[in-house]
C-alpha cells in the first residue's frame, strides 16, 4: 500500500514538473509578445518593459526564476492587467470557484448516492429507468445549453434568483445546481451499477443468511465495494468539475478562476493563463492522489496486489 502510494506520488510529481515545464516553454514560444496590440512602442520603451518583466534574461534563467516564484507562491505579474500579480488575481477568484465546486460536488453526492443505491437495489423499477433516462438526458444536454435555459426560466421568467454576479449566497444557487446536474446523474449511474454487481456476490448471500437486516447488509457489505467505481470516478470528476466551472462561471458571470482563465486566453495574457493552468493541474493531481488513497482504503485487494 505504502509502496503503491509512493509510486503514485512520484508519478504525480513528475507529471506536475512536466506540465509546468511544457506550459512555460510553449507560452514563451508563442508568436507575439505580451505587449502587442497596444501603441507601437519605441525600442527603448520596449526594452524597459521587457526588463521590468524580466523578459530580457536568457530563457533558462526565466524558467528558473518562475520555479523559484512558484515555490514561494508567486506566479509573476499579469501581462495584461497592469499592477496585478497573477497570484493576487487567482487568490481573488479561487474562493468563488472553490465554493462553487464544493457545493456542486456535495449536492451531486446528496442527490446521486441515495438514488443510485435505491435504483441498484430495485432493478427494472420505475426509479431505475428514471435514473438511466436522466443520465442520458444530462449527457446530451450540455451545460452551455442547460445553464442559459436555467437563467431564462428561473431568473428571467420567474424572477426567483439573480441572473449573474456573486454578491450574495443566493447568487450561487443556480450555478451550483447547473454544475451539479450532469455530475449527480453520473454518480447515480455508477452507484447503481456498483450495487447491482455486488448484490449477486456470494458474501451478500452469506450476510443475508446470517439474518442481517437489509439496511445492515447494504451499509456493511454492499456499499464499501459498490462505491469503488465512484472513487475511480473521483479524478475524472475533478476534471469535469473544472471544465464545467469554466462554462458555468462564464454563463452566470461569476468572477472565479475559470473566468480569469477564459478572459486570459481571449486577451492572450500568458502569465495569467499559465498561472491558472498550474493551479488547475495541481488540483487535479491532488484529486488523483486522493482517489488512489481512497481506493486502497476501500478495497483490501489493491493493498495486497501492490
Amino acid at each position: 500500500m505504502t509502496q503503491f502510494l509512493l509510486k503514485r506520488l512520484l508519478f504525480s510529481s513528475v507529471t506536475f514538473f512536466v506540465i509546468v515545464t511544457a506550459v512555460f516553454f510553449l507560452l514563451r514560444a508563442a508568436p507575439g509578445g505580451p505587449f502587442d496590440g497596444e501603441r507601437q512602442l519605441t525600442p527603448e520603451i520596449e526594452a524597459n518593459l521587457k526588463a521590468a518583466y524580466n523578459l530580457d534574461d536568457p530563457l533558462i534563467v526565466q524558467y528558473g526564476s518562475y520555479w523559484m516564484g512558484l515555490v514561494k507562491g508567486d506566479l509573476g505579474p499579469s501581462f495584461k492587467q497592469k499592477d496585478f500579480r497573477v497570484s493576487d488575481l487567482i487568490a481573488a477568484g479561487l474562493p468563488i470557484s472553490v465554493v462553487l465546486g464544493t457545493g456542486a460536488f456535495l449536492l451531486a453526492l446528496a442527490i446521486g448516492l441515495p438514488i443510485g443505491i435505491f435504483a441498484g437495489m430495485h432493478p427494472q423499477s420505475l426509479l431505475d429507468d428514471a435514473v438511466m433516462a436522466l443520465n442520458n438526458f444530462n449527457l446530451s444536454v450540455p451545460s452551455i445549453v442547460a445553464a442559459p435555459v436555467m437563467v431564462l426560466i428561473f431568473s428571467v421568467l420567474l424572477g426567483l434568483f439573480p441572473a449573474g454576479g456573486a454578491d450574495s449566497s443566493l447568487h450561487y444557487v443556480l450555478p451550483v445546481i447547473a454544475l451539479a446536474m450532469p455530475f449527480s446523474a453520473s454518480v447515480a449511474r455508477l452507484v447503481r451499477g456498483g450495487v447491482r454487481d455486488v448484490l449477486v456476490e456470494p458474501h451478500i448471500k452469506t450476510a443475508r443468511s446470517k439474518g442481517l437486516s437489509n439496511s445492515r447488509v447494504v451499509v456493511r457489505h454492499v456499499l464499501p465495494i459498490a462505491l469503488i467505481p465512484l472513487v475511480s470516478y473521483l479524478a475524472p470528476a475533478a476534471a469535469a468539475l473544472l471544465t464545467g466551472s469554466v462554462v458555468v462561471e462564464t454563463v452566470f458571470d461569476l468572477p472565479g478562476i475559470g473566468r480569469y482563465f477564459v478572459d486570459g486566453a481571449i486577451n492572450r495574457d500568458y502569465t495569467l493563463v499559465m498561472g491558472v493552468t498550474v493551479v488547475y493541474s495541481f488540483a487535479i493531481l491532488m484529486f488523483n492522489l486522493l482517489a488512489d488513497l481512497c481506493y486502497g482504503l476501500l478495497d483490501p485487494r489493491i493493498r495486497v496486489v501492490d
Binding site: 438526458f137 444536454v141 450540455p142 476534471a239 481571449i266 500568458y270
Partner: protein, 275 residues
Amino acid sequence: MAFWREIFSSITALVAGAFIALLLAVSLFGPLLSPHDLETMNWDRIGEGPSLVHWFGTDEVGRDLFVRTMEGLRVSITIALITTAVALSIGIPWGAVAGLSGGYTEQIMMRIVDAIYCIPGLLIIILLVVVFGRNQYLLFAGIGAIAWLDIARIVRGQTLQLKDALYISSARALGANTFYLLRKHVIPNVIGPIVIFSTLMVPNVILMESTISFLGLGIQEPDTSLGVLVSDGTQVMESAPWQLLFPGVVLALMVWSLNTLGDRMRMTSQTSQVA
C-alpha cells in the same frame, strides 16, 4: 445485417437512428429547401420570431436562423468526423505498438498517455488556442490530440489479449516484424471495438467543439457552429429566447441520438460476442 436488425429492435435506438438520418439530411440539403442564404442580412426583419417565412426566426442582424443552424450543425459534424479520424490515426498505432512491444517501451508509452489524461481536455485546447491563435484547423488538431488517448488505451488492451494467440506467436516465429504483425493481425482484429467506440466519441467531440466556440475560443464569425449560435442566442435570450432554444435543441438532439445509438451498438456487440 443481423447486427443492425438487433440494434434497431429497440424503439429508442430506432428513434435515435431516425433523428440522425433526419438531421444529417436536413443539414446537407436543408439550405436547398429554404430560399434564404447564410450571409444575407435583412435589416427589416431583425430578431423576428419563428414564422412560415423564417422557420427558426431571424438573428440580431436579420439572418435566417434555420439556415444558420443547419450550417452550424454541418460544421459541428464535419469537425467531429475529422477529429475522430485524427484520433484514430494516432491512437490505433500508439496502442498497438505499446501492446505488442511490452517492457519499457510499453511502460513509457502508456505513462505518457496517463500523464496527458490527467489534464482536462478543455485546458489543453485553450492553451493551444492561446499559443497558436484561433483557427479551425488547430481546433481539429487540438481535440484530436486529446481524443486519441482513449483509443490508445482500448487498442492496447485489445492487443494484449491478442498478443499470446497462437497465430501471432507463429507469425513471430516465422520472422514477422512488428510492422507486419500490426498490419496483418493486430489492426484487423481491434478495428471492430474501435469503430463502435468511435460512435460514442463523435458526440463528445461535438460537445467539446461547441463548448470552446461558446467560450469565444473556437469557430469565429462569419463562420458558425452550434456552439457559436448558442452563445449568440444566450446574449439575447431575454428578448428572443428562440435564438437560444433552436440551436440548443438541435445540438442536444444530435448528441442524444448519437449517444443512444452508440450505446446500443456497444451493448449489442458485447452480447453477440458472448453468444
